[in-house]
């Protein structure tokens, strides 16, 4: 039980990171971006590449920190990956979504995002192959926190949880305490009015994509660190991300945060009650139940 709780919280933290970026984009750009989950994959692979580069260039960077499988090389690679994935998201916007936003309806945008997802996934498959990879091929062993009730935690997981919470807290501060945050929220509430007040819409859209892409990269690296890297990791996560976003209420950053934990905990705890064969249906169930009682999600508002 305690083990399932902890596992759920960990998966939830990673889902929250991804869902926050997704919900921001959905709110400001007003379309469901199905290619968002692929940004997690991009982030994980970019970090994989630079991790290998730095480890080769600076051998001292390749030593592991304590009992973590994290190295200095991977830490620097992750920072780079956040920037590059953010830039990838902006590039996808400039090349595809921006043109469609000007001329086409929201439904076209949704279909385009499916296309972008396919292209991203297949380019990664072509470059890296379909097999699963890991930052470190050694298996990081879990620490036994308690035997009865059984509680096993990997140092990596604990570290990832702390970092994810820190990143989300930092984002919360930015959104609520800085002019940039006010501007972003103003744009998402009422674009014409915000523009009339001198907020540069284009710049804000770019920043939204940067933040969304950066958070996705972080989520991707964290997921890869605690699970594995594969070209289809985004596809495997997309349903859970949307479930988290919808449960939290589209557009609500705190909602996405909570939504991630709801989905993570539910899929972990559900196994105590239902056979694992039904697990893939769980995100749908969560979406259905939430929308039945709260049609706009836990924290969403009618628009």
């Amino acid at each position: 039980m305690i083990q399932s709780l902890f596992d759920g919280i960990l998966v939830g933290a990673i889902l929250s990171l991804g869902a926050i970026g997704l919900t921001m984009m959905m709110h400001i750009l007003r379309f469901a971006n199905f290619s968002h989950a692929e940004l997690l994959t991009v982030g994980a692979y970019v970090a994989l590449v630079f991790d290998a580069v730095f480890s080769a260039l600076v051998p001292a960077f390749a030593t592991k920190w304590g009992s973590l499988s994290l190295t200095a090389a991977l830490a620097v690679a992750t920072l780079l990956s956040i920037a590059i994935t953010g830039a990838t998201a902006v590039a996808a916007d400039r090349l595809i979504f921006k043109r469609l936003r000007e001329n086409a309806g929201p439904l076209t945008m949704v279909f385009a995002s499916f296309g972008v997802a396919l292209v991203m996934r297949n380019v990664i498959s072509l470059l890296f192959g379909l097999q699963t990879m890991h930052y470190s091929n050694d298996i990081a062993f879990a620490m036994v926190i308690s035997l009865d009730p059984l509680l096993l935690i990997k140092p990596d997981q604990f570290f990832v949880l702390i970092l994810a919470l820190t990143a989300m807290a930092a984002l919360h501060l930015v959104m609520t305490r800085t002019p940039l945050g006010f501007a972003l929220r103003a744009i998402s509430e009422n674009p014409p009015l915000a523009q009339a007040n001198g907020i540069n819409l284009k710049r804000m859209v770019t920043i939204t994509w940067m933040i969304g892409g950066g958070l996705a990269a972080l989520a991707g690296v964290f997921y890869a660190l605690t699970n594995q890297i594969s070209p289809i990791m985004g596809r495997d996560l997309v349903l859970s991300l949307f479930a988290a976003t919808i449960v939290g209420g589209i557009g609500s950053v705190p909602g996405a945060f909570i939504g991630g934990f709801v989905v993570g905990l539910a899929s972990s705890l559900a196994l105590l009650v239902i056979p694992s064969g039904y697990n893939p249906a769980l995100p749908f169930m969560i979406i259905l139940i939430t929308l039945y009682f709260r049609p706009f999600g836990l924290f969403g508002e009618e628009r």
């Binding site: 298996i139 036994v144 059984l150 699970n227 289809i232």
Partner: protein
């Protein structure tokens, strides 16, 4: 002697001439048989080529009842709908009394129930392993027209249980792929283990494409098994095993042939796989199996490494011998003769040209045969199923290496002992 009419005599005469060493007599007549195989996928083509090769060998030995055999081949595209259409065309338009195929159980089954059985056509598959066919046969719905030369999942599950028994594990948790095959083998292994007194602590389904298998692994870990049995595919297998090992789970594992892959070995790491043993079906270690390998190498200039090659070869040979023995070329009459050409007490027959000539002469004298081909001395049970020898293998630097060999009588003996 089986006198079905005056016209049977020339055929016998031809057979006698061939026995005397004269060149194959001119054959003016043709006997059509059908084959539905997935020729559009890369592992399906060699199966079709091997089938054609077996037909050619049989023709070289004089054909069926003195007539040249023509195999009409249709592609299934591994699609049940396409397969059924192809089979229907062969049965209705070409009037074939015998259909070879298909490969996948999901294609063979609708062909069996909707095409061959209603039209009284005998069907023999090289490669369908589902135990669903056994069920259909037991209900009498195959009317004895169905055979396969590939050992069933039943057989694989028994070998898994034997490996676990030999390792002396007393508590085992099972993780199976959540599809037809995985559910089938997971259930069978669990039942077999209970019978030999091994406790199954957990039986957990693994779905494809899950973001994390942590919850599933934790569920199993709580039951504290001494060893794991895994019937999953490489990608999920690697994720599950890494998670399992990192949480301090036992590295003692028995795995299905699906994990006999470099991808799995590399993703998990050889150093964690030292206590892993896997099972797979194997060709028998007999002269006949070797002679099939020799024949194949002489013809195709490569080792018969693809799936189902000795199995399709034997399927063709047994079917054609049964046709030779049948009074008339009708599905039920041919099927009734299969037992006669795969009779363990019969004359041993090896599927080269000389062997086939001898076999046809023996059939003409009314003797029964024990066909011994690429998969050994084939023996069908009442449901048209065969058993097969098996190997236990371990991971090694270069891939996998075989460790233990279970002969056909080991496997059959074990299945008989737990079926009591």
């Amino acid at each position: 002697m089986n006198r079905t009419g005056f016209f049977a005599l020339p055929a016998l005469a031809v057979g006698t001439l061939i026995m005397a060493g004269s060149p194959a007599a001119a054959q003016d007549c043709t006997t059509k048989i059908g084959a539905v195989l997935p020729t559009s996928v890369d592992w399906g083509r060699p199966i079709a080529e091997t089938a054609q090769y077996a037909v050619d060998l049989f023709n070289e030995a004089g054909g069926v009842k003195g007539c040249k055999v023509e195999m009409i081949l249709r592609d299934t595209q591994v699609d049940p709908k396409v397969g059924v259409d192809a089979a229907k065309a062969l049965v209705d338009l070409e009037k074939v009394p015998l259909l070879l195929g298909a490969v996948s159980s999901g294609v063979s089954m609708p062909i069996l129930t909707s095409v061959t059985v209603p039209s009284n056509v005998m069907q023999m598959s090289c490669c369908s392993s589902s135990t669903a066919f056994t069920g259909v046969a037991e209900e009498g719905k195959t009317k004895g027209l169905w055979f396969r030369t590939f050992a069933t999942t039943r057989n694989q599950a028994a070998v898994a249980a034997m490996l676990i028994r030999d390792k002396g594990y007393k508590n085992v948790a099972i993780l199976y792929k959540n599809d037809d095959w995985g559910q089938d083998i997971g259930k069978l292994v669990a039942a077999d283990l209970e019978k030999i007194g091994v406790k199954v602590t957990a039986n957990v389904a693994i779905n494809d494409g899950q973001p994390s298998f942590r919850a599933e692994v934790t569920e199993v870990l709580k039951t504290k098994p001494e060893a794991l049995y895994l019937a999953i595919y490489p990608a999920e297998g690697a994720a599950v095993v890494r998670e399992w090992v990192s949480l301090g789970g036992t590295q003692k594992m028995v795995v299905a042939n699906s994990l006999r892959s470099d991808e799995f070995r590399d993703a998990v790491g050889l150093k964690y796989l030292g206590d892993v043993v896997g099972h797979d079906s194997a060709p028998p270690r007999t002269d006949a199996a070797t002679s099939f390998v020799d024949l194949y190498k002489a013809k195709f200039n490569s080792e018969p490494n693809g799936p189902g090659l000795p199995n399709i070869f034997d399927a063709v040979m047994i079917s054609l011998l049964a046709m030779e023995a049948a009074p008339e070329l009708k599905g039920d009459q041919i099927a009734a003769q299969v037992a006669k050409v795969t009779d363990p007490a019969g004359m041993a027959v090896f599927p080269n040209v000389d062997g086939l000539k001898a076999a046809k002469a023996a059939l003409a004298e009314g003797k029964s045969l024990s066909y011994t081909g690429g998969t050994g001395a084939v023996k069908f049970d009442k449901n048209g199923d065969v058993s097969a020898p098996a190997v236990g293998w371990t991971f090694s630097e270069g891939g996998t290496s075989e460790q233990t060999y279970f002969t056909l009588s080991d496997v059959d003996g074990f299945i008989a002992s737990i079926s009591k």
